[in-house]
Symmetry: C2
Subunit: 279 residues, 2 copies
């Protein structure tokens, strides 16, 4: 069992802490918001609360950086100095190219790897963190060119211990794919919520509630994510617009065979996504 | 307790039958697909299976038409003749103006009312019907100008017996609102599913899974619904496009303050939707 340092005790950091603690590791938590470490202690997500970044990572074997991405980028150089030489550093940011590029330039480049648990929800904070959040979820692992084979193995073992499914993927490719599978759905949900009128609440069914769930997400966190992956997201948005405008054309032109064909194609696309995925 | 005839034993008809049977009514079911009535009997959704439309509605006090909307339109004149004079006729179609207009011209116009339980899911068929599907769901009731006050009361009582929440709304207004709250989310989910590439399945999180759930819906049923409400839907799609294109502009222009402001507005829009809704 290892000494694990978790920096950033939001939904993801808190959930990983709880999961690794449940697996028997000794988890030390730090957050620059003291209330979050307090909640982490109270809810049993962490074994101990650190008074500073150095106190958190100074004696660790594994360091998990679970802050917003801009903070990960600003913390990496300090972590490189403060954490023991042989400690493995893994982050959890939703955008990977910038993080993994910086990791490749650290002194500990061999023992640093990008990570992204595909487990976020519209909620945030340690109050809703749970050891079960990561179970059966894909956990992307993005090595830099300098990440050692041993570090990849250690990271994959860590992911498996949390019940997640490691998926190794190049950082740039990760950012392209999540632009479609995570960032685009977020912006589509946002746009859909903006279409609603106050009086519409009289006629609300499960469809719209599910489709606007993501529109509850933290606006500032998402603005940062979108900025960091703006090129891939802009391209994903153009692709979506093309499909949506073609659907709108079928409605305007009363071209029902084309609409039905598009809906059947989308049936098939979702069925393909299901193939091989845990429920 | 009443004798209830349910015509059309899909997800909605089967669920209403089960709910009304649980409430103590005697439910007689009919579907032109014999396998559906068989499943209805096997799963205890109905008390008895009728051999024909006449056999189903001939001795009923309440008739529920839960077929696709085009079939409702073609059945209404026959029901008007076949059902007892004092029987109340309620339909469950997702588009109301055409149905309620025809209801207003029936001999039994005083005892006919449009209905729409806002409880559909991406699944269909009596295999997944459940008495609980309608609990705490809004059930729109759309009277014609000739529907009597007594019929409105009978319909509202029926809805309450199923645990649903009756919402009286004019049929044209209903169709405008559901274009935004039900039909637009369906088409947005369809367009989103069309953006996915087969290899994307490696990096799938809960966000995209939730946002493409509706893309599994029955393509032919939805093509009919879209056709019947095409004007309101075309307008809802134009509104969505404007919001989505403005979000895309903020990404292209790196206008992050405007993006954050839009996301905060969508946070508020969803919070307003929640106000007063059962969980």
């Amino acid at each position: 069992m290892s000494r694990v340092a978790v920096v950033g005790l939001g939904l993801i950091g808190g959930s990983m802490a709880a999961s690794l603690r449940r697996a028997g590791h000794e988890v030390r938590g730090f957050d620059n918001l003291a209330v979050r470490t307090a909640v982490g202690m109270e809810r049993g997500l962490i074994d101990a609360e650190a008074a500073s970044l150095e106190d958190c990572v100074g004696a660790s074997e594994i360091v998990i950086l679970a802050t917003p991405v801009p903070v990960i980028l600003s913390l990496l150089p300090s972590i490189d100095t403060l954490a023991p030489k042989d400690a493995l550093v893994v982050d959890t940011g939703s955008v990977k190219a910038a993080v993994v590029d910086m990791m490749g330039h650290l002194d500990r480049a061999e023992r640093a790897i990008g990570g992204h648990p595909m487990a976020g929800t519209e909620s945030s904070g340690p109050e809703v963190a749970s050891a079960d959040l990561l179970v059966n979820r894909t956990f992307a692992l993005c090595p830099s060119a300098r990440t050692s084979r041993e570090s990849k193995d250690r990271a994959a073992a860590l992911v498996l211990e949390m019940g997640s499914l490691p998926a190794f993927v190049e950082a740039g490719r990760h950012d392209d794919v999540v632009a479609r599978t995570s960032h685009l759905p977020q912006l589509v949900s946002t746009a859909l919520a903006l279409c609603l009128e106050p009086d519409d609440r009289a006629l609300i069914g499960p469809g719209i509630r599910g489709m606007t769930r993501l529109a509850r997400s933290d606006a500032r966190m998402w603005t940062e994510i979108v900025y960091l992956n703006r090129d891939s997201i802009a391209e994903a948005m153009r692709i979506f617009s093309r499909h949506f405008e073609e659907l709108a054309r079928t409605v305007e032109d009363e071209d029902m065979p084309a609409l039905c064909e598009a809906m059947l194609s989308s049936n098939r696309a979702v069925a393909e996504l299901d193939a091989g995925l845990p429920a």
